[in-house]
């Protein structure tokens, strides 16, 4: 199989989750830079790949996709890593879907604001931190983590006693959070902390973490 292309920058958590899946799949891929400072994501040639002018976009020969979670599912299916989706098992795949949705609609809406204010803004020279936004979302994230702490007392990973894409999707934003003083939010939850450490030692995660590390040090 040929080399697939991911358009974007690894610093985008949405791009990074796609890269983790490609690494899990052992796929040959090329990360094609999109110059965000020059607003290349709004150029006509990028809009042809992603009509909303966002990253990532993805190309595999004749197939062009956008939306990171859709790209992930395509990659895992194409490269026979549907074990990370648990497809073939009705109940387990449903639990993977439940916790993918939890990540998308509960975890990310809280953590993304904290990471944007504390990590992304300084990284791209995008202004000063708005502490009120941080404080508001720290409270939201605390409540989400309470649910995670309870869930991870019942199972090793979020969807069950097996790793899935639902776990992997938490990596980029959590990685950035852990470089801030708000790492304590994770560290104070015993089960969440142990789960995070299990994720961190995976080769796919280590590989993408190595791409992110220079951005925050």
């Amino acid at each position: 199989m040929g080399v697939v292309k991911v358009y974007g920058v690894a610093a985008s958590p949405y791009v990074a989750t796609v890269l983790v899946c490609l690494e899990e799949a052992g796929a040959a891929y090329e990360l094609v830079p999109v110059d965000m400072a020059a607003r290349e994501q709004k150029s006509q040639h990028h809009l042809a790949r992603n009509p909303f002018g966002k990253i990532p976009a993805f190309e595999d020969e004749e197939v062009t996709l956008f939306e990171s979670r859709a790209i992930q599912r395509y990659v895992l299916r194409k490269y026979n890593r549907t074990d990370l989706l648990r497809e073939g098992n009705l109940e387990e795949s449903a639990m993977v879907d439940v916790w993918r949705e939890v990540e998308a609609h509960h975890y990310e809406p809280a953590i993304s604001h904290i990471v944007r204010e504390c990590v992304i803004k300084p990284m791209i020279g995008g202004g000063t931190r708005d502490q009120a936004i941080v404080d508001e979302n720290v409270e939201k994230l605390k409540k989400v983590l309470e649910v995670y702490e309870k869930r991870l007392s019942d199972s090793v990973y979020l969807a069950g006693d097996f790793i899935s894409v639902a776990d992997l999707n938490h990596f980029p934003y959590t990685y950035f959070l852990m470089t801030t003083e708000y790492a304590t939010l994770v560290e104070s939850c015993t089960n969440v902390k142990a789960w995070w450490e299990r994720l961190l030692v995976r080769p796919s995660v280590r590989k993408v973490a190595a791409m992110l590390a220079p951005l925050v040090t």
Copy 2:
């Protein structure tokens, strides 16, 4: 197969999308009311079904699920309506996933604010409309609909020339929008309007629309 239970109220767009899938599947189901005014969704017995205290929750014998989009996929798989997911076709299923994500991350974030201010608040006695929120989100929705109008000039439905859950997910919020003066946003887009009319005549959609109609008249 037995009767599955959906906990919630049809007025919730998230509950309604699950009901549309159950209707498409021809499944026997019971809608178990959750008294939102009495905050029953935050009660211990509901939190056991949905730890975030939201609706819907779903029970099928030993399986308990939450998050509407995860429940949808489970229902369509269980009742052999995976044609609405296009599973089995790598590229088509990816396009379904792309447009499900577009609905979740572009369409809904705009339209939900308009519907909340113009329909939900009056319905539940939740205060007066905040026109500034409406105006801001009308502008966002216009931009999203521009993308849809172009997409629907290339294909009959969002993911291709076949109906899928990606289309069906647009039904509840759009149904409510069409009862307001902002129906013109849809009516002024020729292709979007034709697509919406194709959705409206589906038996599953007509059935759930009949449950919503008394709420807004």
